[in-house]
Amino acid sequence: MKRLSLLLLAWALALPAQALNIFACEPEWAALAQELAGDKTSIYSATVGTQDPHRVEARPSLIAKARRADLRICTGAELEVGWLPVVLRESANPAIQPGQLGAFEAAAYVTMMDVPTRLDRSEGDVHPGGNPHIQLDPRNYLPIAQALAQRLAQLDPVNAASYQQRHASFHQNWLAAIARWEKQAAPLKGQPIAVQHKGFPYLENWLGMKEIVALEPKPGMEPSAAHLATVLGKLQTQPVRMVLRAAYQSPRPSEWLAERAHIPSVELPFTVGGDGVAKDLYGLFDDTLTRLLAGLK
């Protein structure tokens, strides 16, 4: 028995440190994990930038990936409610179930916006925890990155120093980038805009843009022609500078309105990988601002 345990110990010591397996629900969290953990982990993103994060299939490959994950990083706030519970259950992986050390939900570390005061599905697909699209305010990444670095260190103490160090340098670079973006985005302050889906409250809050109207009559409901006509009517009295939509959304409603209201229709990447330029977190905001500023012209 003693010899066996010695043998096991020797074997365990001889093994190279196993890289952490990270399962990211959305590409922005895969990108953040990449910033903080880089080569120390193997990162898999369950969704790509061109996908609607509300509608993801609990496909077999996700279950297989979740089975071996040491850490899952998701938005939370019920954004993944339509698929993640099935993936978690089918994965039979206790480490990443809700409440475990291997379950990280970014929304828990930021102040949520649009928390509904009334929960009723007649209001559309509202999320009880607030609007889950927290990834478009760069300031949200500061507390999330801090918590994530801590979590990585807890799960992988051997590399704790590396995570701390990478976090410190990400923190510095990100603060500098925010300062740069805020300067660049000054002309957007106070600008009235329309949005196709209520997916941009954090971006609007950060840049001081004013959302006048949403094209979806209720969150998650496709805008009908009749509803678009009322929106157009509203814009006569309350003009906006542009209409925003996420890359994954059908361009039709936005373009219909843009044509008639004579305003630009601006497609935003929405997340990392939403278009060819938004290749990482920095690219996401660089590209978002470039597109917004182009919309002002």
Binding site: T50, I63, M112, Q146, G220, Y248
Partner: protein
């Protein structure tokens, strides 16, 4: 850290010192001192940086405590998540739906009904029981007013290593459609092969063991032991099990746009004194006769699903293609008209292929083709002049459906079918259906 370093150096030092002169020793000592000082400095630098980082971290605003509570979905508070499915259909059929497909009079038969009817309304509860178990119950609300237990099972949640145990009453994991609840079907009714070979869906009381392989490709193996409650089993009230199932699923992605799953299943049970009324015979007895079968029933099947969405974005367009094939062998004793008993064996099979295309947000169209093969029976000499061994007919059906889903929680459906499952009795069928989901937002299976 510092100590280990010095220790290491100290351990190395004597080895080198064996043949060293005093001068060499002095230089070595000096070097060691320098090293020590160097490291001391670096360590101090690192420590101060760490302190700075910690300070910065402490200064950052973190709204965690409030949000943490909120981030837990309301449905997973202590009360079980409750969901209610309200569904109903209106069926316009030219023929009495109770007439079974030709050659399948000895199978179970649960067809769609005519006129207005409350379809598959069901009430579901689910919750974690403790860190190790999760419970699920689904009650089907019968159109006539009764309530039946459709599912009532416990899942283990903490076994790890990809192992999951389920016990209680559940839909068997065989095939693809068998586990899918009626409100998630893509057509109003089940394919003929499920209707005839599994009485729409095989529900069992028993135990299921599943294992998910630790591979990038999805590989799942499962086994079930059960009472044999669902057709083709005969409810067993003795010790031991009355039915067994083995299944395997493999699946994966091809790029971001395609994903797939294929499967194979085996089912085995014994039927004892399974009585079927209205079975046609060679004598042409009006209204048919009642036959009873006792024997072994083995069924094997293969299934596949393939889904496509451009760039993985299924919100505006997507395509889902699926098909399944089952083949059943039964052999045993047949009592013709509950009187003349002799040997009987038959192999029957069936398959379907269907495609559902979402052509714009909220709208889908689907086509399904169904076919059955009644097979040729080997009938014992005593019954050779009584039992029909071959019907010489291939039951088939083609269905087309359109559905409109204003939201994730509501769906309205129109379906037409050309049903040629009964010899010389073709039927044109039309269905209208509503499917509404209230309460907890259930996650959808693959």
């Amino acid at each position: 850290m510092k100590h280990y370093l010095l220790l290491g150096l100290a351990l190395c030092a004597p080895l080198n010192a064996v043949a060293a002169s005093d001068e060499e020793l002095r230089t070595l000592r000096d070097e060691l001192k320098q090293l020590k000082e160097n490291y001391q400095q670096r360590l101090e630098q690192l420590e101060s940086r760490l302190q700075q980082a910690e300070q910065r971290a402490a200064e950052m605003p973190v709204a965690a405590p409030v949000a943490q509570v909120r981030s837990e979905p309301a449905a997973s508070a202590y009360n079980p998540a409750i969901s209610l499915i309200l569904a109903g259909t209106y069926g316009n059929l030219q023929l009495d739906p109770a007439i079974p497909p030709t050659g399948f009079a000895m199978s179970a038969h649960s067809p769609a009904s005519q006129g207005f009817n409350l379809g598959e309304s069901e009430l579901g509860f689910s919750a974690s029981i403790d860190p190790r178990f999760r419970g699920v119950a689904t009650l089907a609300l019968g159109a006539a007013g009764g309530v039946s237990v459709e599912n009532a099972f416990i899942d283990t949640t903490a076994l790890g290593n990809g192992v999951k145990l389920r016990f209680g009453r559940f839909f068997s994991g065989l095939g693809y459609l068998n586990e899918v609840h009626a409100h998630a079907w893509d057509f109003v009714d089940q394919p003929l092969v499920y209707r005839s070979l599994w009485n729409n869906q095989l529900g069992e009381d028993g135990i299921q063991l599943k294992w998910l392989a630790p591979t990038d490709t999805f590989v799942e193996l499962g086994a079930e032991l059960a009472r044999g409650r669902g057709f083709p089993g005969s409810d067993r009230t003795k010790n031991g099990s009355g039915a067994g199932v083995l299944f395997a699923h493999v699946g994966g992605d091809v790029g971001a746009s395609h994903n797939w799953r294929v499967g194979a299943s085996l089912h085995q049970t014994q039927q004892s004194d399974w009585q079927s009324a209205g079975v046609p015979d060679l004598l042409g007895t009006p209204g048919g006769v009642t036959d009873a079968f006792t024997g072994d029933v083995r069924t094997g099947g293969v299934d596949f699903v393939w889904k496509y969405a451009p760039d993985g974005n299924s919100s505006s367009t997507s395509l889902k293609l699926q098909g399944e094939y089952f083949r059943r062998q039964q052999s045993g004793l047949l009592s013709y008209n509950l009187a003349t008993t002799d040997s009987y064996a038959v192999t029957q099979s069936g398959w379907y292929l269907q495609g559902v295309y979402k052509f714009m947000p909220e709208w889908r169209v689907g086509v399904r083709y169904d076919q059955l093969d009644p097979g040729t029976a080997t009938v014992g000499a005593l019954n050779a002049a009584n039992v029909i061994s071959s019907y010489g007919y291939t039951p088939r059906r083609t269905s087309v459906m359109f559905d409109y889903s204003p939201s994730e929680f509501s769906r309205l459906r129109l379906q037409f079918a050309r049903d040629q499952s009964r010899l010389a009795l073709p039927d044109n069928q039309m269905f209208l259906q509503y499917l509404m989901s209230l309460g907890a937002h259930g996650a959808h299976g693959y």
